[in-house]
């Protein structure tokens, strides 16, 4: 064995291969440099384990108390977090119900908006109409009508006040509630007053309502 081989074997010996000790000792007997390396390695492999340290009883008490305190605090924090989460879930469940009872229908808004576009509305076959707007109307009945009516008149009021505050935007024609039959004919020229569109939309929507629910027993 040469000296570089010896150094490699010392690494293996340090890694736990105790059987190499005899081979290493043979070379070390003839080589002073390697002998020192082996003496050092011997010291390393025979290092004593850290002695268990006996703590003072006060230290043990301190640790136990801090653990108990920590667990108590964490339990409280968990309880608070749980209560908070439960309240949030409850709120998430209750709020829509409250909204449901105070504002029966939010659906008419898109119906009105859809119909309020100032473009000619093509004539549609009577049979296809109920599928567009009948559902919400049947479900919420008079409350839905009332809400839509309120929405339309509020839109009209705001449009009138807007037009009054901006003379440049004054429409060519005076706002008036056109009969539903005129829908699509008057909507092409100039700036369409918002109030008329809203009223038209509302009238058109009213017109689309069925006469009685017997026509659609499935709903």
């Amino acid at each position: 064995m040469n000296c570089p081989d010896f150094a490699h074997k010392v690494e293996e010996y340090l890694d736990g291969c105790k059987a190499l000790r005899t081979v290493l000792a043979d070379h070390a007997a003839e080589c002073p440099g390697c002998r020192e390396l082996l003496a050092w390695a011997d010291r390393i492999v025979s290092l004593p384990p850290p002695e268990p340290t006996t703590p003072a009883p006060e230290w043990t008490e301190r640790v136990v108390q801090s653990v108990l305190r920590d667990r108590r605090m964490r339990r409280q924090r968990r309880t608070v977090a749980f209560a908070l989460a439960a309240s949030l879930v409850l709120a998430a469940l209750i709020l829509p119900i409250l909204r449901w009872t105070t504002t029966p229908d939010a659906n008419p808004t898109p119906v009105v908006a859809e119909n309020a576009k100032p473009q000619p509305i093509p004539e549609q076959p009577r049979e296809s109409v109920p599928e567009l707007s009948l559902g919400p109307a049947l479900r919420f009945g008079p409350a839905s009508l009332e809400a839509t009516r309120n929405l339309a008149s509020e839109a009209a009021r705001q449009a009138t006040s807007l037009a009054a505050g901006a003379p440049g935007l004054r429409p060519k024609a005076e706002p008036r509630a056109d009969p539903v039959a005129d829908l699509g004919r008057n909507a092409t020229g100039g700036l369409e007053p918002v109030v008329r569109s809203t009223r038209r939309a509302f009238d058109a929507w009213l017109d689309l309502l069925p006469v009685s629910t017997d026509e659609k027993p499935g709903l």
Binding site: G33, L37, P49, T53, P55, W59, V63, L68, D70
Partner: protein, 185 residues
């Protein structure tokens, strides 16, 4: 896995104060011993060991009861010591403390050699020292150290090798090993 350990842990999870005390008393000697060895200062080691126990109880629910409890606890202790040493290393006053160690006179006896090895370990990177202490002093296998320090076995072997080289170099500088002595590969 000891049935006794598993039962004790279950009682601790139910916040039984007697069980908590029993667990602390069962492992405090070893945990504190390791902390003293790795941290050096007894008072600091006691603070670190206290934190180790807090962490043990906070993560008891994560202990896999099919595996032994002792290595799991010691791994937490090792990790906590490592964090502490990494933080302490950033404090400049610590470096001054350690530099004071280097002026001790050298001697040749076996006891002195042991002392010099331990002093040499003060100067190496904390993770090198932890790997060295766990492997050479505690007789832990590479796999345990790798798991405790969350590093691959290959990294642990490299750290250990570098640590031995650093210790050897230091002993040479201190005259504990003559210049004739060969290097590690």
């Amino acid at each position: 896995m000891s049935v006794d350990d598993a039962r004790l842990v279950k009682r601790c999870q139910r916040d039984d104060p007697e069980a908590i005390r029993e667990l602390v008393e069962r492992f405090q000697g070893e945990v504190l011993g390791l902390c003293v060895r790795l941290v050096g200062d007894r008072h600091e080691a006691e603070d670190v060991a206290q934190e180790v126990f807090l962490r043990i109880f906070r993560s008891l629910h994560r202990w896999d009861s099919t595996r032994p409890l002792r290595p799991w606890i010691m791994a937490i202790a090792v990790n906590r010591c490592r964090t502490f040493l990494a933080q302490r290393r950033k404090r400049p006053e610590t470096l001054e403390d350690l530099s004071g160690v280097a002026v001790r006179p050298s001697s040749t006896g076996d006891r002195e050699l042991l002392q010099e090895i331990r002093l040499a370990l003060e100067d190496v990177r904390p993770e090198y020292r932890i790997a060295f202490v766990l492997f050479h002093e505690q007789g832990r296998p590479y796999e345990f150290i790798a798991e405790a320090l969350r590093r691959p076995v290959g990294t642990i072997k490299t750290w250990l090798h570098r640590c031995r080289q650093a210790v050897l170099e230091r002993l040479r500088q201190r005259g504990m090993i003559s210049e004739v002595g060969h290097e590690l590969p």
